[in-house]
């Protein structure tokens, strides 16, 4: 379906003036888009992939500046006047964004926002525009579109808002739709629905799609052609099939190999049970208070039983709001809960903070956010040795320092880094620091709460490998909480699938991935690891 070239980017450079001087985010790249095709621009964070398209649409932040040329059917969008530009933006080229929750104006109804670009670009009357808006909502399969026209964005879910965004972008039958990580902020099952919708709409309407993403799985299933970007440059381009089959550039090869691989063997059958929860329940009170009536009870974790053996990794899988993180914290007694929790032969069900304190060194936790979980005003050395102050108060500061050096080496960081502050490190390095903080206490059980979710794929893989190595070296047991099935599969030997606080299905990893029984698990698996294409390329 290769048509004429409708958009070509020539020697595009994007610079930002910052306090640290001028930063060049895009360094003279060339790319083009043909009518009706799907082009993916792939890269990790900081590759300049989003800024390329922002520059093309003249949407750069006020301290940004673009040079070069972005030609759309003979017009250079970079030099076009405002009113000329606005005849192209939203009419011929439109764009959807990563953040569906904030990309719609919260103060206007969906109908109002949908009708605005229609009336602007096509000069339709109010009634005609309304009919058109209704048609668009039906097109993107929003149930009860008539009522939704009068809804405000805050009354809709993230997936629905992204559908509205798509409807707005397609309102004027554009030539090109630029989709900037349109599914990254959504749960996997919703992701699959949105991608299916996009593919279907493309078949129906025939526009070209420029797909900006870090997710190679999506690219493989969605794109005709691919540009791989790193540090503001295009390092490789080509047809999707060829590029995946035979990558040329080292970086592309590395990206393709970055999918976490390997499987974990289950522990010996007679391995002792370390941590056990029976009928664990966590309830949250929502609202309520003086004059506001009784609070609503939300059961975040609903009678869940779990057994963690020595050297075992249990993966807890679920979408946002499934209660998986809450379960992890409840098992460590960081949240009040009902039911029985045992650690070894101790009953933790009634343990209070003081009772738990000596046990904390054996039960550790690593958080998702490598930025928020390290105190910004402590040095790395202080951060990782804080636990030693509590659990081995007899250590001299020299001994603590030695332990810090040892722990940093173990997680693959240079010991010299211990006098620096967290903000000097990248996300992956920070996560290593957080792991070192847990490992320095030589724990038996570590709850890993989405430890890789905020990281780039290539970094994820390193962290996964580090965690596996630490497990083997120290006979650790992990509770691995994640929504990312590829990572869970590489880490765990047993999987629990959660939804709305309940266990949907559980079993050994290969069984769950190979032969899921429950419908929900099947959708989850299909969304995450299905390799069939969303669309047929020409």
């Amino acid at each position: 379906m290769a048509g004429e070239t409708i958009l070509s980017v020539k020697d595009l450079r994007v610079r930002f003036r910052t306090l640290d001087g001028v930063v060049e985010a895009v360094k003279g790249i060339h790319l083009h888009v043909d009518a009706g095709e799907t082009v993916a621009v792939v890269g990790e964070s900081g590759s300049g992939k989003s800024q390329t398209m922002m520059a093309a649409m003249s949407l750069l932040a006020s301290n940004g500046e673009a040079t070069g040329a972005v030609d759309y059917r003979g017009k250079n969008l970079l030099t076009l006047g405002k009113s000329e530009l606005n005849k192209v933006r939203g009419r011929k080229i439109s764009m959807i964004f990563q953040e569906p929750m904030t990309s719609l104006d919260p103060l206007y109804t969906i109908g109002n926002q949908l009708m605005e670009p229609i009336r602007k670009h096509r000069g339709l009357s109010g009634a005609a525009a309304r009919a058109e808006a209704l048609r668009l909502l039906e097109l993107v399969k929003i149930p009860d579109p008539e009522r939704r026209l009068k809804s405000y964005p805050h009354e809709m879910s993230g997936g629905q808002r992204q559908r509205v965004m798509i409807a707005m972008a397609l309102a004027n039958d554009p030539d090109i739709l630029i989709a900037d990580e349109p599914t990254t902020a959504l749960d996997v099952t919703i992701q699959a629905q949105i991608l299916t919708l996009l593919a279907e709409l493309q078949r129906k309407l025939g526009m070209a799609i420029v797909f900006i993403t870090h997710d190679l799985g999506i690219v493989r299933r969605f794109a005709d052609r691919v540009y791989v970007m790193r540090y503001g440059e295009v390092v490789e381009e080509g047809k999707a099939d060829e590029l995946f089959a035979n990558p040329q550039h080292d970086y592309t090869k590395m990206l393709l190999a970055a999918e976490p691989t390997g499987r974990k063997a289950p522990p010996a059958a007679n391995a002792p049970i370390l941590l056990e929860g029976r009928n664990v329940e966590v309830e949250f009170k929502i609202g309520g208070g003086f004059l506001a009536g009784p609070p609503m009870l939300l059961r975040a974790v609903d009678r869940i039983s779990i057994m963690l053996k020595q050297r075992q990794t249990i993966g807890i899988v679920g979408e946002s709001g499934s209660g998986k993180s809450t379960l992890g914290r409840a098992l460590l007694r960081l949240l009040p809960s009902q039911g029985t929790i045992r650690f070894g032969n101790k009953d933790l069900s009634k343990a209070d903070r003081a009772d738990m304190r000596p046990l904390r060194r054996e039960l550790q936790l690593v958080f998702q956010d490598p930025f928020g979980s390290l105190s910004p005003r402590m040095t790395v050395g202080q951060i990782i040795t804080e636990g030693l102050l509590v659990h081995e108060p007899s250590l001299s500061s020299k001994e603590r320092d030695n332990r810090a050096v040892e722990a940093l080496r173990e997680v693959g960081l240079s010991p010299e880094t211990r006098n620096r502050y967290p903000h000097e490190f990248s996300g992956g390095q920070r996560q290593r620091i957080a792991i070192a903080r847990a490992m320095i206490l030589k724990p038996k059980v570590v709850v890993l709460d989405e430890p890789t979710s905020a990281l780039d794929r290539s970094v994820q893989k390193q962290i996964v490998e580090l965690l596996r190595k630490l497990q083997a070296d120290h006979d650790l047991s992990y509770l691995f909480i994640s929504h990312d099935l590829a990572v869970v599969r590489a880490m765990s030997d047993y999987i629990i699938v959660m939804k709305q606080g309940k266990i949907v299905e559980e079993g050994p990893t290969e069984e769950i991935f190979g032969a899921p029984r429950e419908a929900y698990t099947k959708t989850l698996m299909a969304a995450a690891i299905d390799e069939t294409k969303f669309r047929q390329s020409a």
Binding site: S94, P106, P117
Partner: protein
């Protein structure tokens, strides 16, 4: 919505009650009384006066009597301005204070909002810096410096305005006081507006509107401005209550017969009824404007619903 307003009005009653009670007993606890000042009143006259105003009754009885009178809209007589009742004093002074305060508020909102928008749209350019400079000056220089400087420049040096006085409400007499009242407010409003407008312009839905090719007018006015106005609305409530109940500084310096001066004089002279009257009036204004703000807020922001 009506239910909400009704409920808010109901909750205002206990609030008023607490404020009145607190103020009543606080002022009574303070040493001294309305007739013990350096007036040279003979003890008999003083005793007479105190008996006449019921000041010898037990305090709880005075309190109950005061509440009773208040419920009938009667603020009582002023002890230190014996020819007037408190109600009369307010009837004369309040319209003047309200007039000045309202003009200053409207001026501040109009000018401040426009300046804030101009600054936000020209961020880090000359226009922005001038507005920031003005706003910093306006919010740093205290009123009691602005007022005499205005008198000095416009009244004495250039002889454009009268130095002070009310002049029976001649407009030329109002310019100085209104300017003095509004300058700091303009500064605050401009600052608030600039900040919220910049944040609003940075938000994701503005990027969406731009990407859809909407005109600058629609982007700025329809989408950015409406969201950015919300902090101004919340600010305007308490500001209005404060402005409309008079400013002691402005009324003293410009010799304006409003109600702003009463409070300090009355408190110093232990003119109990006048102090109480002022507290009640200020509290009423505050409660009323907070309610208005909440209603306006719901009008501007569909996410806020009262039911």
């Amino acid at each position: 919505m009506f239910l909400y307003v009704f409920r808010r009005l109901l909750t205002a009653i206990p609030t008023m009650f607490v404020i009145v009670t607190l103020a009543f007993f606080l002022i009574r606890v303070a040493p001294g009384g309305p007739f013990n000042q350096e007036r040279g009143l003979s003890p008999e006259i003083k005793a007479n006066l105190e008996a006449q105003f019921g000041l010898n009754d037990p305090i709880w009885l005075q309190y109950v009597n005061y509440l009773k009178n208040l419920l009938h809209g009667n603020f009582g007589p002023s002890y230190n301005l014996p020819d007037f009742t408190v109600t009369e004093l307010f009837a004369n002074g309040l319209p003047i204070s309200v007039q000045l305060g309202l003009s200053a508020l409207v001026l501040a909102l109009a000018v401040g909002t426009v300046l804030g928008i101009v600054a936000a749209l020209n961020q880090n350019k000359l226009g922005d810096y001038s507005v920031i400079a003005l706003a910093t000056a306006g919010s740093t220089i205290p009123t009691f410096v602005i007022a005499p400087v205005i008198q000095l420049l416009f009244g004495l040096t250039w002889k454009l305005l009268p130095i002070g006085g009310w002049g029976d409400g001649a407009w030329i007499n109002k310019i100085g006081p209104i300017l003095t009242l509004s300058l700091p407010q303009i500064a605050i409003v401009a600052r608030l507006m600039r900040g919220s407008m910049i944040e609003s312009l940075r938000s994701n839905h503005i990027r969406t509107a731009r990407a859809l090719g909407l005109s600058d007018w629609s982007v700025v006015v329809k989408h950015a401005l409406r969201g950015a106005v919300l902090p101004i609305v919340s600010y305007a409530g308490p500001a209005a209550a404060a402005l409309l109940t008079g400013s002691i500084i402005v009324e003293t310096i410009f010799a304006i017969p409003g109600i702003g001066r009463y409070f300090v004089d009355a408190a110093l002279n232990r003119d109990y009824t006048l102090v109480m009257g002022t507290v009640v009036v200020i509290a009423l204004f505050t409660i009323a404007f907070n309610l208005i703000v909440d209603i306006l807020y719901a009008f501007f922001d569909p996410r806020v619903r009262y039911d």
